[in-house]
Symmetry: C3
């Protein structure tokens, strides 16, 4: 099933519109290409609105939001919803400022996202409408671990039911739920946190997975999370002597590029709660 | 001749002003440095206007245009034309939205570009004032191939004559014409399409080539296209096991960095129609 | 002492807010992560103001300034000063346009920066309120060399005293002074000038060093300059056959990632004037 989701991405090659931050946008584009889909970026409101219509998916990431791009997010998001496109929200830094929290919360209110993907702090911020975030990383107290796994899975299920979106809370253990089942995924490596953009890349890839697998949104989201984590493991194993986080970034994207459905099926580490 | 164009870039080291998209801007800057020129980026209208004057070339790329940067494009473009600088237009996504089509068409009307470089869909959009684009890639029906080569070369020649610009329609086979001769270039590899920014990099490099070879604009444009394609071939040959599109991007820029005029002369694959 | 400064960065892991250009922002983020700190980017005025409060340092880089981000620079800068955060100014292209010169000069007037880091042309522009810059590179006549070392060190000391900021004039020889002592640092390689962003990365890293070493600002600034230059040397030694400037960029960031305080102490090449 997880491998089949990847095969569908490569067969259909969705065009993913990204309104995303300028920090990691290049990696997002190359990650989307690596997985077999195509990226396009447009964030001027009138342009973003129109570009939406020729795409199959919209990935909204608020990492470096401004008043112009916020307008583009709402206009493109509403258009994408009308057209039935795959819709992903990445609420980068929600909880770190009022503008980010309000924008993410309002986007959720106005637009029905298929998946909302963030770290524990961001997801909790959206749940409560307030919270705290140490930059874009989850604070220690917020991390999912073996002790709080059942509790956190319950939280993610609840939030999915109340929001009507699949919730993907990613970290050392990733939790993805549609309100019924909850995937707990253990792929990935801690060194991925020393690269900027692994979360952003995942959201872009996930948009392609949702677009290519509209009948299996939960599985498609889980498949993309396994793929990203597994690419992190494979990329790490390919690091040469003296290489660090910059080469690791390249080797992760390379691993996505070379990922087969068989490797994904074999390497995915998950349980369903 | 093609090698001589590269030598002139390295001897003169033009300063290239880029008003370009934020997706691939870093690669454009490093590609311009790799070829032996210098990049500068400015897109606030008053700043862009003034920065233009200290440069030798202006590369306008509409990939993530917005109302502010569009104003900068017109102001900088008109200033660059007054000053006799090399002027390149890369109409990314023309045909994909009205704003992109209109901006590109109006830039062509107001500013005399030395070269307009795009894929078949973008170039056809500019020719007809309308069209269709699957994202930023040329649709299959638009690709230049051995069957339609003569027809497409004729189209490029016609458009060059009517527009007064060298037209560089790039793809599996690249066509570059000044209305008289038409270069058909077969360097490059299909895997370059799996990297974001190879077209953007080429436009930035081409601006340096035009600035350094003002007496031989057609040859300079053709030389830069051969160089980019050949760098794609060389970079591909240097890929290590397990490497994919992210490493390929680096190895292409590296190949530009290490390109000699001899290698370029020897590796260029073209005919003149 | 220089090694101790790096250890403090890794122990404290400051959160560095960057209002920086979109050309090199990804490399700045990865370089900050490589050194052991965390980056965050925000440039919408209200967002930047609020994000400042959760950070330990602010790095202002005017490389692709616009009217919106300029407002963010002033608001975030004044907030960071009120909060006693580490404050760095990177006046990219000061002297190349009136907007850049005015913005940098006004930022200096309104905000007390711990360190102002630029090339000789930019620093001289700020000193005189006018000047000339060949793009973002120092013009030949402005370079620090063995002949003008004593004179330039005197200039840097003077400017530090009059401005109240540590001045870091970087180039083939780097000069860093607090008005009393002046470090002259000879780490680095000329090939670093063929990569975009080594200066921007240094400013981001330096912000982390200042935040983690508030009692030793001069030494912290000098330590970050030695680290960046040494990473340039080490990264160069790790280049494989056929690699060029794009791989060099990765290998420099990788070398920062793998830098130990012992390597830094042993490899730092400086004298105190």
């Amino acid at each position: 099933m997880l491998g089949k989701c990847l095969e569908n991405v490569r067969r259909i090659s969705p065009l993913v519109h990204n309104i995303t931050n300028y920090v990691t946008v290049n990696d997002v584009a190359n990650a989307i290409l690596a997985v077999g889909a195509s990226p396009i970026m447009a964030d001027e409101p009138s342009d973003a609105y129109e570009i939406t219509a020729i795409c199959n998916a919209l990935n909204i990431n608020i990492g470096t939001l401004n008043s112009r791009t916020i307008e583009a997010m709402f206009r493109a998001g509403q258009r994408a919803e009308e057209l039935g496109h795959a819709l992903i929200l990445d609420p980068v830094g929600a909880g770190a400022s009022q503008l980010r929290t309000d924008t993410a919360v309002n986007l959720m209110k106005k637009i029905k996202f298929h998946v909302i993907r963030g770290n524990a702090s961001e997801i909790k911020t959206l749940f409560t409408g307030s919270g705290n975030t140490h930059g874009v990383d989850v604070s220690m107290a917020d991390a999912v671990n073996d002790e709080n796994l059942a509790f956190m899975a319950g939280f993610v299920k609840d939030f999915s039911r109340s929001s009507g979106s699949v919730i993907a809370l990613t970290g050392a253990i990733d939790l993805i739920s549609d309100g019924g089942k909850c995937y707990a995924i253990r792929n990935g490596r801690p060194e991925m946190g020393r690269i900027t953009g692994t979360g952003c890349m995942l959201s872009g890839i996930m948009a392609a997975f949702i677009a290519a697998n509209p009948e299996n949104i939960l599985e498609a989201a889980a498949s993309s999370v396994c793929l990203m984590g597994l690419a992190g493991e494979i990329g790490y194993s390919h690091l040469l002597e003296h290489e660090g986080n910059s080469s690791y970034r390249n080797r992760i994207i390379d691993a996505i590029y070379n990922m087969t459905s068989e490797t994904l099926e074999r390497g995915a580490k998950y349980e369903i709660l």
